[in-house]
């Protein structure tokens, strides 16, 4: 399918999200869209998918103008889309979600569950995207949910597939698989629009690259361009793609975890006898494929789930009897991995979200009353410091672009005195410029003496930031890896196959780590 967008313009109040954008996607082409957070990529794709109506401009499919009243029309025209944020029904099973909208029926109106299930299993095998067909989506980790989203879009046999940051939550292996799937589809004639902030993968798979900045196309690039060139084209200034930091100067032990185990409601062991400690002034990274227990560990560290066995202490205080609020008050900062579900209230303003866990403390509150002026002033400062765009503190956080939402959570958690910072997937969905900034802030926080626990599925991020790191696999620490270990070995550990050589030092041998 050939797609042509002509002078698409879209305004949201004072913000021009798309400013006369022209874009042509040839049949059988992988066309990458690059751009900063808030550049207008998702908006453009939502317009294509019939979710927004453009203020100006035209959409042509195979050279014929079309007009979509809603996603139904777009789907009927052969367009499939994987949204940046999940569009799944949490209480439905994977099968139900994938089949939603084109359910196979028996007789007049009875769902043919068996056939639906078979179809889901079949496409999941065909594309190598493993999903549990009968699991309820609410119980799945983000990585698995992302796979379900992709399957859902693929199941429609789309002739044009839009993938809005599909790899943001995938492991390297999963990304590899997805890239293969995309290539297969392309070779079969499907056109693909691919949005990602990960320049390396963009360079690898794109046939053409269009760069958008502040709503307008600033140019096209060749996939052979270097990452640095692409980055500066996107951001409009040179960007450092590596993390600058001096060696850590670890202080006292701040976080001490002993024998931590978590068993799920269904009896499944999620975290299995974890022991580690983190000192002030060091970044301790937990790498691993999504869904191997890292999420549960971070939740236990802030008291959102109580350990089945084992103990956690922060600066000598046992967390056992403390509530989440009390733990945060000890000086613990927490950036949850799922910002939309746990980190933000979409309907609240940016300013309100910036005080979500500080609203009842001075200087934001006095004897039970909010100090709105103070909250507003603080928000203005944070928005400027973290370059949150658009810089409007009264805008509902849910209307910001994904990367800017992430900046709100980071701005909130990094702006108070901390002893311990727990940070999960800190740069998920961030553009390279913001990523550079966030990495610098995390290192600065470390240099201030804060103990940092970093959970990330991004190998580059882990390698760049960590002073010490472990890989988690199936709820256990598969091994502690010295800083500077080659990425391939860590990748193998993440996949669950511990190599025989020295990549994985037997945990007990590493000083300061007491892994069993």
């Amino acid at each position: 399918m050939k797609l042509e967008l002509r002078t698409i313009t879209k305004r949201f109040g004072s913000v021009t999200a798309n400013d006369r954008i022209d874009l042509v996607v040839e049949p059988g082409e992988i066309h990458a869209l690059l751009g900063e957070n808030g550049a207008g990529k998702s908006t453009l794709m939502n317009i294509l998918y019939g979710l927004h109506r453009p203020d100006e401009g035209q959409i042509l499919i195979d050279d014929a103008p079309v007009s979509f009243g809603g996603p139904g029309d777009a789907k009927a025209a052969g367009i499939g889309m994987v949204h940046q944020h999940f569009m799944l029904v949490p209480v439905f099973t994977v099968t139900e979600n994938v089949m939603l909208g084109h359910e196979p029926t028996k007789g007049l109106a009875f769902l043919d569950r068996r056939r639906a299930r078979r179809r889901v299993t079949e496409i999941s095998h065909r594309f190598g995207l493993e999903v549990p067909p009968d699991a309820v989506v609410a119980d799945l980790s983000v990585g698995v949910r992302q796979r379900v989203e992709i399957l859902k879009a693929l199941s429609h046999d789309a002739r044009l597939l839009v993938l809005d940051e599909p790899t943001a939550v995938l492991s390297p292996q999963e990304t590899e698989q997805l890239i293969n799937v995309i290539r297969t589809l392309r070779d079969a004639g499907t056109s693909i629009v691919f949005i990602s902030h990960k320049l390396r993968e963009v360079c690898r798979i794109a046939d053409r690259i269009t760069v958008i900045r502040r709503g307008a196309v600033v140019g096209t690039a060749d996939p052979s361009a270097s990452e640095g060139e692409l980055a500066s084209m996107m951001v409009g200034r040179p960007v450092r793609l590596t993390v600058d930091k001096v060696p850590a100067e670890p202080g006292e032990v701040v976080l001490d975890v002993r024998g931590l185990s978590l068993v799920g409601d269904d009896g499944v062991v999620l975290v299995d006898d974890l022991t580690f400690s983190v000192r002030g002034g060091e970044i301790f990274a937990i790498a691993g494929v999504q869904g191997n227990g890292q999420t549960e560990v971070t939740e236990a560290l802030v008291g959102l789930v109580k350990p089945t066995t084992g103990s956690i202490s922060v600066a000598g205080r046992d967390l056992g009897p403390l509530s989440t609020g009390e733990i945060l008050d000890l000086g613990v900062g927490y950036v949850p991995e799922d910002r939309l579900r746990d980190g933000l209230v979409g309907d609240f303003s940016v300013a309100e979200n910036l005080v979500l866990d500080l609203y009842d403390k001075p200087p934001f509150a006095r004897s039970g009353a909010l100090d709105l002026a103070r909250i507003e002033a603080d928000a203005t400062a944070r928005v400027r410091e973290f370059d949150i765009r658009p810089p409007e503190t009264t805008r509902a956080a849910g209307t910001l672009s994904g990367g800017n939402q992430q900046k709100i959570v980071l701005a909130r958690e990094l702006s108070r005195p901390l002893k311990l910072l727990i940070i999960a997937q800190p740069t998920r969905g961030l553009d390279v410029g913001s990523m550079e900034f966030v990495h610098r802030r995390i290192v600065a926080e470390r240099d201030r003496g804060t103990a940092v626990v970093l959970v990330s599925t991004e190998l580059d991020e882990v390698l760049g930031l960590a002073d010490r790191m472990v890989v988690m696999y199936r709820g256990r620490i598969a091994g502690e890896v010295p800083a500077g270990a080659p990425a391939e070995r860590i990748g193998l550990l993440m996949a669950g196959s511990a190599p025989d050589d020295q990549a994985a030092v037997p945990p007990g041998d590493v000083a300061s780590a007491g892994v069993r």
């Binding site: 959102l304 989440t324 945060l328 579900r341 933000l344």
Partner: protein, 402 residues
Amino acid sequence: MSGRTGPGRRVLDALVRADSVVMTSLSLLCALAVGAVLIVLADQPTRTAMGYFLSSPGDTFTLGWHAVWSGYAALFEGAVFNPGNSGMAVFEPLSNTLLNATPLILGGLAVGTAFRAGLFNIGVQGQLIMGAICAGYVGFAFRLPPVVGLLAALLAGVAGGAVWGGIAGWLRARTGAHEVISTIMMNYLALYLLSYLLGVPGFQAPGSNQAISREVSDTARLPQILGPDLRLHAGLVIAILAAVACWWLLSRSTLGFSLRTIGANPSAARTAGMNVERGYVTVMLISGGLAGLVGCSQVLGTNHALTGDIDAGLGFQAITVALLGRASAGGAVLAGLLFGAFGAGDVVMVANTGVPADVVSVIEAVVVLFIAAPALIRSIFRLPESRGGAAGVGQFAKGWNG
């Protein structure tokens, strides 16, 4: 993209994006239109004229228009201003409107406040009954000096409602029992308790074999505020004060901030260290207390004695008011006034014209139907979703599920 965006559509488009005031007005307009159709259909002369519609269509329209016009005019006269009245009676329609509005505003605040914390309190009926029982009992059982008597009765009423609501909140927090179910059950409990008490000597009016309680002593009554001829009482002042308090609570206080967070996204609230369970109990105490004030207004101000139908449908009208007022304090006041006016006008309309009383109920129901289903309004006018994705509708639906 062309063809669909005529100038008319564009205006409507902008209107819908503009704000909920417009949506509400559109819904009201739709409801009045539906009401007009019903009036026409119920009007005997118009129906006769329809019988010979083809030979003289003008008759149908003239008569139909007349029926609608006189019906709505009577509604207005009963609710706002009647040019036929003179002296203090000029204010009678307004006094009736405000008298009706008082419990509706309080009830709307009760439902709306809980709604903001993500709870759907349909137990205002039971809570107001418990409030009325407690307020009434203190009002007639003790002879207290003026002011003290009233304050004690009010306090008892608030406490009665708050406990009744708080139990539902506690059940939700502790066991996860859905508040919709538990409050419905507790409505029945309150109703049966009331009808039992109305037969108990010492509670029942002495020498009466009817299901009516003793009269509240005059030191515990809410004073009439527009003189002895008009029935409007100080309950209205309480309602307005309560609205101001609710507004402050929800938009200016730290407690309100956490309640709103819990309502909008409980997992983010939990992650931010808020105690979601405690929030549920707190908001149900507040909501129940406000419902208790409804009971106070009825038994200390409007009726002065408890009867079996002290609720008189207020508990459920409160839900309608809260929905129409979009769960905001100001909205509850406006919606309460509107429904109060409907209630006052209704009586006059039925008395002076042949319009059946049900028309007003239908209008009220239709307004809410449209409000509760903005998606419906959008599809009637073929408007797009105002925000990207299904966020708007989803958000609303979430509120219902708590």
